[in-house]
Structure formats: C-alpha cells, structure tokens
C-alpha cells in the first residue's frame, strides 16, 4: 500500500477555507439555536396553553426527523413551495437551526426546572417581579447548569454541519469530497480531514468541561 498525501498538501488552502466555512456555519448555528431554543423553551414553559402544545409538538417532531431530511427538504422542497431559492449556506443555517434549537429548548427547560423552587421564593420575598426573578436568579443559574449540555450542542452542531455537504455547502466535508474525487486519493484525503475534525471537536468539548468544573459551584443552590 502506498500513500500519497500530495492531494492534501497541494489543496491545503482550498481545504482550510472549507474548515473556515465549517466553523462559521457552526458558530452561526449555535448562536441562532441558543437564542431560538431559549425562546421556544420559555414559550413552552410560560406561554399560553395553545402555544405550549404547538411548541411541544414542534420539539418532539424535530427529535423524530433526521437532520438530513430537514436539510434536503429546506433546500430542495421549500423553494418549490415558496418560489424563493436560498443559497446552500443559508439553507443549511436555517435547517440546522430549526433542528438544533429543538434540542436546545429541551436543555433550557431542564436547566430552568432544575433550579429549586426556594430560589424563586427568595427572589419574590425581596419584592422582585416574576420577570426579574427569571432573568436575575433562575436563568443565570440555569445557564451554568446547562454548560455541559451546551458543550454537547456545540459538538453536535460541528458534526452536523458536515451533513450540509449533501446540499453542496462548500464546507470542509464537501471540499474533501471534491478533492478526493478529482485526485482519486480518498483514503489520504478522508483520513486527513477525519483527524482535522477530531482536533477541532475533542479540545472544544474538553474546554467546556473544564470551564464547567470551574464555575459549577455558582449554579448549585
């Protein structure tokens, strides 16, 4: 068996740009999903009953459907319905956010419900409004408790962006496919980017676990 890594080295700039797009898509998806997921969770916990029902259904449906299906549906089917074509990158951001925000919503809900009832009362007896109790007392603690789960969300998001290759978003996975197809060196190319993904993902999850170890006591009431 002979190895030839020149396809990787020759195209490193092309692949590196792909990694940049992977990271950009990941960051945007995480930010949008955290915001949307928090709103969904709040609506599900404190909204009117009809909204709670709709949001529960939405969350459970996203948990039942593969992200690949959401991606191809948003990219291929939605334009048929609306007549508006999204560029692949934005279609991927929309689809990934739709999917991942449902998971974030579950995490936020679990985080909020895990804060003891006594904390709410301690805020109320100081004369705070329910909104002040939520934003100043419950949410900050919930966020600290959610850190490990947010770490998993970041990791899942980075991994899921690779699926956007299916709708030709020019991120790392797609570019690896292109290079491997042109050079007929799939083994070297795919093995290399596997290591690259690992080198991005492993430290990221470790870093967040570290951070949590350092601040977890601030969420324990």
């Amino acid at each position: 068996m002979d190895f030839d890594f020149s396809p990787v080295t020759d195209n490193w700039r092309y692949l590196a740009t792909g990694l940049g797009i992977t990271l950009l898509l990941s960051i945007l998806t995480v930010v949008c999903s955290l915001i949307a997921g928090t709103l969904i969770a709040l609506g599900r916990m404190y909204g009117p009953t009809w909204l709670q029902k709709i949001l529960t259904f939405y969350i459970d449906s996203q948990r039942a459907i593969p992200v690949l299906v959401v991606l191809v549906w948003i990219y291929f089917a939605l334009p048929v319905l609306t007549g508006v074509n999204f560029p692949p990158f934005w279609a991927a951001l929309l689809a990934l956010t739709l999917h991942i925000s449902a998971y974030v919503a579950e995490i936020v809900r679990a985080g909020i419900s895990s804060v003891r009832n006594g904390q709410t009362q301690a805020g109320l007896v100081l004369g705070m409004s329910p909104r002040q109790v939520l934003t100043k007392i419950i949410l900050p603690q919930a966020i600290i408790r959610m850190l490990p789960s947010i770490g998993s969300i970041i990791s899942i998001t980075i991994k899921d962006t690779a699926i956007a290759a299916v709708i030709a978003v020019p991120e790392l996975m797609k570019r690896a496919e292109t290079v491997s197809g042109q050079t007929f060196r799939p083994m070297e190319v795919f093995t290399t980017i596997m290591v690259v993904y690992f080198l991005v993902l492993f430290p990221t999850t470790r870093l967040i676990d570290r951070l949590y170890d350092r601040v977890s006591y601030r969420g324990r009431s």
């Binding site: 100081l126 603690q141 006591y217 601030r218 009431s221």
Partner: protein, 261 residues
C-alpha cells in the same frame, strides 16, 4: 382598628397599630385545613415565636404574612391595612418585610456582597455605591466582613444563614419573618445565627420566628404562640407558656420536646 383585648394587655406597644394582624385566617389545601381560623397580632418591636408540632401550620401562617400563600378566609393586616391583592401592591408589601428560609436560599451565582445588594439594586433602585455601603454595614453586623467576595458554596451553613439575614435586612424591612432558620444547621453553628437574631431583637426589630429552639423562644420572645392542627392552642408571654402553661396540649408538646423549664 387595633382592638386590644384583655389578653393583649401589657404587651409591648399594645395600644398602637400592630405591624401584622391575623383575623380568623383560614387556609385549605384541597380538603385539608392547614389554618383553621387563626387570630393573632404582632406589635411593633415585638419578637413573636411560633411553636408547635410538625405539620401544625406554623410555616403556612408565616407564608401567608407576605402572600407566598394566599388565604382562603379571614383577614390579614399589615401596618393597619388589609393585605392587597394586586400583584404590584403585594410586591410593595414584600419589600417592607424580610424573610429568612430554613434552607438559606442564597443565590449561588452571586457573591456574598451581591446577594445582599441584589434586592436594593433591582427593587429599590438605589445606587450601587449606596447599596454596597449598606451591605458592608450589614456584613459587619452579622460578623462576615471578610467574606464579602466569597460565593455561597464556600461558606458554612451558619455563615450562609447570616448572609441570608443580611440580605433580608438590606431592604430595611419593618418586620422580619424567620422559618426555622437553624433547623438545617450543624449544631456548632446554630449559636452564631441565634446570636445575630438576638442582637436584632435587642435593637427593636419586629420579628416573627417559627422555631424548634425552645431556649431561644424562652429567652428572646416577647410573645409565644402555640400551634396545633392549624389552630392556636394558647398564646402568652414566655413565662406563661414555658413555666405555667394553661393548656394540656401545650404541656404535652413541651414535654415531648423534653422541655422541663
């Protein structure tokens, strides 16, 4: 307004408007009657201790005082006015009452100093400098000046409860409500909390204290209310309750605790 009965005669500030007055207060949980027509008053500057067996309704009565529990019958007066029903008005009333919980309930994401300033800052809207100055004075009072920048997780139970007292005092309340403030503490830290409470009483703070610490009640209370099954069994000055109880149930309760004067 303040209908002084014979029984109240001789109590501290008996002739002026009580800070808190319960008139025939009732509270139901489903079919269960937690408060069955409770009438009592808390005069200004008085320390009132609520004692009684577990499940008798002491916490429930305390929590109706600041509307954490809504009453199902009777009337509750704060400073001569019926407790309001609108949420905004209740918030105003709560700002004038302090409450200390059995489980401390300090905010774990805030430092000790921030725990004390959060009330005045968010609710009273005073300046940060003023809130900090106020907090430092209170920390000195509860003997924790050196712990200002610690997080609650790094304090002992007794220290946490003293911070919780300071947090309540920071609102400059007219009455302090304590719900078994020492029940969750290690025996060796109970004393430091009781001492802080004793000092508060000596300064003339109006206090309602649910407690199982009979020696504290005997020593510090001006008035003791004995509870059983959602009703007041007997109330009177500590000398009466502890040395010459008029009711058998009071005597039974005290002897169960091993109290013998």
């Amino acid at each position: 307004m303040s209908n002084v009965t014979e029984a109240d005669f001789g109590r501290k500030n008996a002739s002026s408007t009580p800070v808190v007055e319960y008139r025939d207060v009732r509270k139901q949980y489903g079919n269960f009657t937690a408060l069955d027509g409770v009438s009592a008053r808390v005069n200004r500057g008085e320390v009132l201790c609520l004692i009684g067996p577990s499940g008798s309704g002491k916490s429930t009565l305390l929590r109706t005082t600041n509307a954490l529990e809504v009453i199902d019958g009777g009337q509750l007066y704060f400073d001569g006015h019926p407790l309001p029903s609108s949420k905004a008005e209740i918030r105003k009333v709560r700002q004038r009452m302090g409450m200390v919980f059995q489980s401390f309930e300090l905010f774990p994401h805030k430092t000790v100093l921030e725990n004390i300033t959060i009330g005045p800052l968010t609710v009273l809207g005073i300046s940060e400098a003023e809130a900090n100055a106020r907090a430092r004075v209170l920390l000195e009072k509860v003997g924790l000046t050196d712990k200002a920048d610690r997080y609650p997780a790094n304090l002992s139970g007794g220290q946490q409860q003293r911070v919780a007292i300071a947090r309540a005092l920071a609102m400059e309340p007219e009455v302090m409500l304590f719900d078994e403030p020492t029940s969750a503490l290690d025996p060796e830290t109970i004393g430091e909390v009781l001492n802080v409470m004793k000092r508060l009483a000596d300064e003339g703070m109006t206090m309602v204290v649910v407690t199982h610490e009979m020696s504290f009640a005997r020593r510090v209370a001006d008035w003791v209310v004995v509870f059983d099954h959602g009703k007041i069994v007997e109330q009177g000055p500590p000398a009466q309750i502890f040395d010459a109880p008029r009711e058998d149930r009071t005597r039974n309760f005290l002897s169960h605790l091993g109290w013998n004067g």
